[in-house]
């Protein structure tokens, strides 16, 4: 899977799950603010990524996944 395909799929599933427009998910935007995440919906984010890409993001790694670009990096480097 190419990075472009990852980006496309992330935007698609997150737009659906969090009911936001795809174009608000710019590379440097913070995920938490853009998707209005709190402790409950953060679990949705982790679950959606795990379900879509079979990539688990452990709680310890979450502080390093702040922006959408960092999320794409994380998925790209952990994809099997």
């Amino acid at each position: 899977m190419t990075r472009e395909e990852i980006i496309e799929q992330v935007k698609e599933v997150l737009a659906e799950e969090f009911e936001v427009e795809q174009d608000v998910m710019t590379d440097d935007a913070t995920i938490k603010d853009t998707l209005e995440l709190d402790s409950l919906s953060l679990v949705d984010l982790v679950a959606v990524v795990e379900h879509t890409f079979k990539v688990k993001i452990p709680a310890a790694d979450l502080p390093n996944v702040k922006t959408f670009a960092q999320l794409y990096d994380y998925i790209e480097s952990h994809l099997h």
Partner: protein
């Protein structure tokens, strides 16, 4: 092997009084009869809908929140099972969120509910689960849920 449980390969059985080791709820609001099987992140539970069930309405059908409680207690039994096999006490869980719940039919007295729970991601003590309840193979309800686990 767990004391008081029957074990056949990955098939475990907790029922009757034994289920009380897995969940903190008691009468009149016990909504799981048995933990039937556990396989990785998936478990199956059962409940017979009896007369006098807390959630049976005047029309003799179960109210939809009864299904939600049954699914929540099924997940709680699963979490309890995972602790008990490690020799730890069963945790107390609270429902944090119910999401995408659908009820297709309200169960009646005499119905035998079979529920499949799939444990999903866990972040900071909040676990996401999926539950699906069937009667004779027909799906009567499904939902996602998030459970807070308190250390008690």
């Amino acid at each position: 092997m767990v004391r008081g449980a029957l074990a056949f390969d990955n098939v475990m059985l907790y029922q009757g009084e034994e289920i009380k080791k897995l969940i903190p709820q008691r009468d009149p609001i016990m909504m799981v009869d048995a933990l039937v099987s556990v396989d990785g992140d998936i478990c199956k539970t059962e409940l017979n809908v009896r007369e006098g069930n807390f959630f049976i309405e005047d029309d003799l059908l179960m109210s939809e929140p009864g299904l939600i409680e049954h699914i929540a207690q099924s997940a709680s039994a699963f979490a309890g099972y995972r602790c008990v096999v490690k020799g730890e006490p069963a945790p107390v869980g609270y429902i944090g969120e119910v999401k995408k719940f659908h009820c297709y039919r309200r169960p009646a007295i005499g119905d035998h509910l079979t529920t499949t729970i799939t444990m999903g991601a866990e972040v900071n003590g909040i676990t996401i689960i999926a539950g699906e309840t069937t009667v004779d193979g027909e799906v009567v309800a499904d939902t996602q849920m998030k459970i807070f686990t308190a250390d008690e």
